[in-house]
Symmetry: D2
Subunit: 386 residues, 4 copies
């Protein structure tokens, strides 16, 4: 496993490393952590890498690693750079023969991602996206219950992701996370919608087991000088007859990270909330409300959920464990060596394409006068498999 990005101070890189370490399925062997060469060296040192495998540049890393004997070079490139590098790094890595696990969004825009998709399709490499929330056991349980008809045909989906950390202009105060996120060159056409709107979107499609086919969007930007959106409200219509609302915001002052989804069907509803991830609320037309807990085990929970659990009932698991579940699935897929580019259990190109199509449709709609804009996604043939 080699890292691109993730020098000192990068939260997400640390999370990736800890998540990957949890189950010991990958060893970190190389990295190109920072364009700042001192930072780069220090990071490599701290991680115990051999100096010659701390590369000054991701292109160099890919080339050099590709020249190593197969049993010595990295197997998986983990990409934790800002958005504008997601696609270029993946492009080259796949061409050079590496599997790629990338932060989302998958690219700056749909066109760039389609090009990457072509490259991927022409290869036998695996490609995954760090939609971490799709690694939580009870998210899988919710999807299974929807698929099994527990709540009947889904009618209403309410997904919300309110954060508050961009309520003020912290980018110009030196916050690096905020800085690149508001730079269209590095972040892409969407701000909040790309950063967390895509999380809400993919969660909605995943749990409701339906696809959004059209939408009406209102985007806002609330801080002086901010270039990209920081607040998103979207009406959505879905392929299976459901409709609903998607909310994503980074100016909900005081909120931490309470990504939440509710889906309601003819017979009941399900509710999951990231800040209390081990519980799944099941409401029902004709039964008392139940709280499904991740520790219930089988037969109460599906295999999809229980195999993503580590601890006995009542021992909280969180974000790192969810991310670690993606690494476990990635390791299994590499070991299995099967055909195709999709890692079973890990969000892949399909989810990436749909996320980009969502961003584009929302921006088009937001800027226009038409009520509804169709979400046009070039491909949807390779859906996530269990």
């Amino acid at each position: 496993m080699g890292f691109v990005g993730g020098g000192e101070g990068s939260f997400i890189a640390l999370a990736h490393r800890q998540a990957a370490a949890l189950d010991g399925r990958f060893d970190l062997v190389c990295g190109a952590f920072s364009r700042d060469s001192l930072n780069n060296q220090r990071t490599g040192n701290a991680l115990g890498l051999a100096p010659q495998r701390v590369y000054g540049d991701w292109r160099e890393m890919i080339e050099a690693e590709a020249r190593l004997p197969e049993d010595q070079r990295m197997q998986l490139l983990v990409n934790v750079t800002p958005n504008h590098l997601h696609a270029p790094v993946a492009q080259r890595a796949i061409q050079a023969g590496f599997h790629v696990f990338s932060e989302k969004p998958a690219a700056l825009n749909l066109a760039e991602l389609q090009a990457l998709d072509q490259t991927l399709l022409g290869s036998d490499r695996l490609y995954g996206l760090a939609h971490v929330y799709l690694g939580y056991p009870m998210v899988w349980e919710a999807r299974e219950l929807v698929r099994n008809g527990l709540i009947g045909a889904v009618r209403k989906v309410i997904v919300e992701y309110p954060q508050g950390w961009l309520s003020q202009d912290i980018a110009s105060q030196g916050n690096k996370q905020a800085d690149w996120r508001d730079d269209p060159q590095r972040s892409g056409i969407g701000g909040c919608i790309g950063d967390i709107g895509t999380h809400a979107f993919s969660l909605a499609e995943f749990v409701a087991d339906q696809q959004v086919y059209c939408l009406s969007a209102m985007l806002g930007s609330h801080v002086e000088g901010r270039q990209l959106d920081d607040d998103v409200s979207v009406l959505i219509k879905m392929s299976g007859g459901a409709s609903g609302v998607l909310i994503a915001s980074q100016v909900c002052a005081g909120e931490e990270n309470p990504l939440k989804i509710r889906v309601y069907g003819e017979l009941g509803g399900l509710e999951w909330r990231q800040e209390e991830p081990s519980s799944l609320i099941h409401r029902s037309l004709d039964q008392p409300m139940r709280i499904l807990r991740s520790g219930l085990g089988q037969p109460w929970l599906s295999d999809a959920a229980t195999r993503r659990m580590r601890l006995p009932a009542g021992h909280p698991e969180g974000y790192l464990e969810a991310m670690a579940n993606l690494y476990v699935d990635f390791a299994d897929a590499i070991q299995a060596g099967g055909a195709g580019n999709q890692v079973p259990g890990v969000p892949g190109m399909d989810i990436g394409l749909r996320g980009m199509a969502f961003i584009e449709a929302a921006l088009i709609n937001h800027r226009g006068d038409a009520k509804w804009t169709e979400l046009i996604c070039p491909s949807s043939s390779r859906s996530i498999a269990q």
Copy 2:
């Protein structure tokens, strides 16, 4: 106090009577409870009314009561009929010299309500609407805190009212509450949007202390044979710069009555939920989250909140107490005998007009292709006062 409507089995009439009884400010002296004369008589008997003041018809009741000496006749007509009678009964009652406390929505449509408004303006009678949720102490507290700038300029409003009781076709199975609500003749042009959407709407404007000026709406109807909407999602833009989302639904299977509002400003956010009405959550950019509880008293809570409380900290108060607060304010206003038609502290014609304008704008938008529809309200000069 006399009742129109509210024969046997009417939940809302029983709630009104218990709420009015709580503080002993009104005595029930007459009623026209049901067109079914046996039901009408039985109800009157059960309530201990003199037989001659149990009227077969609301018109008869208004006329007969008006002929009684002033110190014997009812002072306040409480209107708990289905929607189509809200305006006609109020019209005649006001003309005959009675104060009116009416269930919402105030009329079948905006035109009918404007006519009533003219009548009201030409009178010295008081008119109130049973927007019960505006009687809760912590709703007033939220509004006060917004007005006092605790959370800075409001940016985002999320109000939701998900119910589940109309998830199936219970109207044709004999449920009377469901039956008239789906009949445009008795319910008006809106179904769910009129029944509970207006609650969400008035709560949003009340707490955010801003008015909605345009909206984009998606309405749905999910049950075979249902005539009116049962599910509503609306994007809203508000006069003071806020925007947000309004959700109201009666097909969120398994939900009871969790009306909830969140408002976020530059500095923090407030959250209130009807099913736990004594708590108000205050999130903040730079402080830990606080839970304001209705029992805190002054100086922690405003006078507007504390005067709507009855019990010491930790003794739950609920819906009936909220409604009783409206009756107390109505009694005070009658006693004070001041000028104007607005009862301080009680939702009045203004809120009625805005609610009807909201319904009409939402329906127009829903049926059209334009993204935004302006909410045009004929009058907004008489806002609710404390």
Copy 3:
């Protein structure tokens, strides 16, 4: 209905009057509200009583009312005085032919209460105690579920009543509620244990459907100059094989009124919390956790619970409604005119005797070196009936 006690500023008297008013089953006709004659008069006036029925003294009131014709005099004496008057007033009222609804504890000590019991047994009058928490629908539901074997034989009971309002010396700062509660002459031998410990005790016996037969108690007093206990922790053993813990405290700084009970049996557990009274949590060995809500109605809830509900699902009911349920049952019992002194559905002499026996046993144990003290209750033949 006539009141003894409850002059201006008495919270509990106001609660009684509002609770009694809610269902309109009693009219207030007389009172002896305060030894302060001005306060007494003002209170009577404010409540609209005829001046001749505002009595200067409770003895006078009982005598005078007894001389009135039966259809004019009060039917029920409501006693909201400090503890030391509970038994004397009840004694005389019963002897004079009145039904009595008394605040708890029923007397200053067990001997005094046994004397009252003898008087009661010799009469045909009804006697009830305002153990308000036994009026909540979901408390009855919990008891029904235990009786029906839902959780199997009860093994463990944890009941707790932590308040914080006596964390400081507010008695000497003029708080009247705190003042008499710490005066052994007016409060009795117990402070916190009598004031709220008895609530916890009666709730535990009621829900677990077992009786405490021995206990080990630790009492504390944490404020300089305080005479009576303000903090109680008790180990209990119960007749049906359960054991557990009872906690009551008035120095749990910051707590409001979260009386809570948990009972665990062979197959599951139930949890109820007064500050969220409409929910009853059911945990189970082999099923997901369920939340029973008071709005579920039949067949999900027992008749005992549903007949104590007023509003549809999701409309919160609270403390006043729980107390009002006791008044409704009292009115029914008076109307029914049956034999015996126990009002079905209302805590009576039995619960009073057991509460006093609990206080005495706890104090004996606290002061001694023996680990266990038997709880000896003179009578337990007349248990609460539905």
Copy 4:
């Protein structure tokens, strides 16, 4: 790092390995996982160990590792065996020059632990106990706040640890975890009290920052054929003037793992609950309730809490992260190479001794007639340091 115990199916060994892996501070180099040699080999293989370092027996492992050159042998022995092996393994490992991180309780009884303590004192080795709950950031925060006087002098402590998994006789049904726990030879004199009562006990002393000096205990055993206690209720008195209640049970049917502590002082109270570990509730006499969240960071939280956090606000961390915090501190201490046997930040011999003294005092009290039994702990000179 080498493991004793933790063959296939051991939850706690897997947790230790994942927790240790999270921060990459230890490499697993050897193990004696199971007396079943096939299980032992398979476990070693699965963990990628060299075959010669998978030992058939813990004595053999200690001897063989001690013979290896210092830079090759294990540094830390992790002991995840049943209770009866905790002290013997530690004894020999310390004598052979290894640091020891042991599951709790530290020994079968106090005498055995005192002997181990003597060995430890004569060495320069580090010794830690896996009281995992003392690794949670908000537990440290609670302790810091108590020490800083936020809630004033602590008066009342309520600690509870209700589990339900031993509600039935699962030991005889083949559950290995349940089996050894009920065997006095392997579990020691206490069942539930040793298994989880010691967690509750150490948490209470840690957060309240006071020591229990006497107690009154009631133990129970509720399942036919069970030898040891499964249910514990204890009244406690503490050195700094606090008193309170400790509850631990494994027959609270339906409960998972909601270890919870509340401490109340003169000015307020703190509440922490393991199943929602990122929140710490602060109640106050004269302020609204606050919820301190682990993501608040400085200056809101102490350094003791923030350095135990890994992720930004709202990204849940759980049990593994708490345990990993102990491993990080252990690694730091080994690296620092300081004097003494105590690992700063990790529960050590002191907590072990006090836990054993607690078990012994509780059993003595339970079996006797005296109300109070003193808790006599041979040493309390080396308290946990930050």
